[in-house]
Symmetry: C2
Amino acid sequence: MSDYKEFDGIDSALTQLPREDLEKIRKIIYGKETHTIDVSDECKELAFKYNIELVTCGFNCKEEQLRSPKLIRVAAFQHKLVPFPTSTPIQEMKYALFKFANKAIRIAARGGANIFCFPELWNMPYAFCTREKNPWCEYAESAKTGPTTKMLQELAKIHNMVIISPILERDDIYNDTLWNTAVIIDNHGEYLGKYRKNHISRNAYLNESIYYTEGNAGHPVFETEFGNIAVCLGSYYPLSWLMFGLNGADIVFNPSAVAGETSEPLWGVAARNAAIANSYFTCAVNRAGTEVFVNDFTTGDGKPPHRESDYFFGSSYITAPNGTRSPGLSRTSNGLLIAEMDLNLCRQIKDQWGLQMTQRLEMYAKLLSKAAQVNFVPQRIRKSQD
Amino acid sequence: MSDYKEFDGIDSALTQLPREDLEKIRKIIYGKETHTIDVSDECKELAFKYNIELVTCGFNCKEEQLRSPKLIRVAAFQHKLVPFPTSTPIQEMKYALFKFANKAIRIAARGGANIFCFPELWNMPYAFCTREKNPWCEYAESAKTGPTTKMLQELAKIHNMVIISPILERDDIYNDTLWNTAVIIDNHGEYLGKYRKNHISRNAYLNESIYYTEGNAGHPVFETEFGNIAVCLGSYYPLSWLMFGLNGADIVFNPSAVAGETSEPLWGVAARNAAIANSYFTCAVNRAGTEVFVNDFTTGDGKPPHRESDYFFGSSYITAPNGTRSPGLSRTSNGLLIAEMDLNLCRQIKDQWGLQMTQRLEMYAKLLSKAAQVNFVPQRIRKSQD
């Protein structure tokens, strides 16, 4: 399987199956049928011109008697840093990425997108595998006044689009602290606020915890003209997803930078489960490609020192509150996934399933309070009990 | 797709793909490679004789220097009530199911199983779709002294096997209350204790909430000779899964009785996500087949009155703490899934990923305490904030 990195993904491979089997398999692994949506020819042509894969999809939703549909379109943008070498000077790299982002946002606008989401730390190499502080910390910017936010504010205004921009944040108020942050810009170009990653992984490959610490900005839900949205940078923490549900999110974006064989089988599961458990849409966005660094680094896994990151496997996808998911973007290329959804579906599923009413929050609040204590006694049964 | 109900499942359909693609797809949707395990010829012959599909699988795990492997085998048993009509007199139905269970347990024993798990409410029709109280409530038994427990205690002792038996419980202490309960019997035939379903769904098809109420037995973890085990009857409640992790489970069994097109796409997601999020094994066991009742009933979905249940889609499967999953049993037949696992993998994954150390339990305990109050104010951002 030497060409595994180049494998485009399961959607295209499955099309080799007999149509009848394919339909059944899709029902089981992807859920209810989705419909096709129209996007302008200009959108398609631009995507083709800039070599950005374009995947579109519409989620079905019943009409209601008292509420009008809240139809919106979400764009998930996944990109490779290649062809820009990681050694590109910072200003130059940012400028190149800004230019590319500009194109992607234009295509999304032509596709009718109302909300646009980048992957995690989209405007820099995912360089934490190197454990080098220099020059990577120099990529950090002010969430509110940094150049990336400024640039995107312009585009948000021009295209009447909410933009979610996950960056490495330099906290200009609190003593130069770094955070892994998502900036939310509204469709008038106003800076709406930020979310800071709450759970920082502690593993030998990612090394996140030596760059920044646990977020202190809570689990904000942003009320926009296109729905209540939130950002979750913590795919494997169901409590994190839960809080966005309790705070009233319609869509939770999950910008990521995940790579390699250990993470890939988890990718289709975490954000999808969150949509099911919390009756909201989730939009999981990943980067693609392999990034090559100048200096050798080790990854704590016995492999010899090397310069290549693990491969980021793309595969961005969107899930509806009933668990139905969109096709995925490719594993290997730049791509734009545009999905249309009626936000009314969230409440419809809550009415249908009632998970929010049967979750016994009060009981768990007490249980977690006990479990968080140092003298916690787990509920264990060693011998026969009634 | 008229034969959707008879579709065997994705595992067999995928084998039509070119081998190279199949391997890649399996890696992405199922995770790391598993290995084959040996079971006795007698096990295979008996399974063949009794027309029970036999699927086996071994999860890989590194050897440690200080701890010996804790190799155990788990058997998930899925069955159809057919050919016994739902109108079969209760004693007769139970006797028929006892006989069949006896066979399945014998096969599992010959396959080296240490723990055996039935689906939810295994010894009765899943009759709540009818909304009839009579005769279905008569199926309820004492968890500790009922005939099903007595019968299984004998088998557990003979086969040196822990048995998980989910039944409709008649509470013989507390005023004839009914519960949806899992009974745990240890490998010496001792009644070890019980777990009562904590989350009772409120939807128009299942009608669970008119038969029994929310469990009051907590989230017990049972310390057995074959590991710390628990039972979760609440697939879509991440908080429930979390508590079993906090209480120290190595394996959480998820006996189910789920049916139909709405639930099937969720089936591969919920228990698998729980294994990933909590670094334990999960074993999701479902019944199979369609059950036909004597009287017409409606299902609140506009369909005309009918007598057939939705189809239970089997597809039982097991997930390791690293997210790797076993093949599934068929969607349509009686089956036995025997998987070998080293329980050391749980701690290895905790050491590797550290999710249990980065989950910020104390923060969420406080957040949930607030969220459970009637005057809860969600964290919402309406206009620009710093």
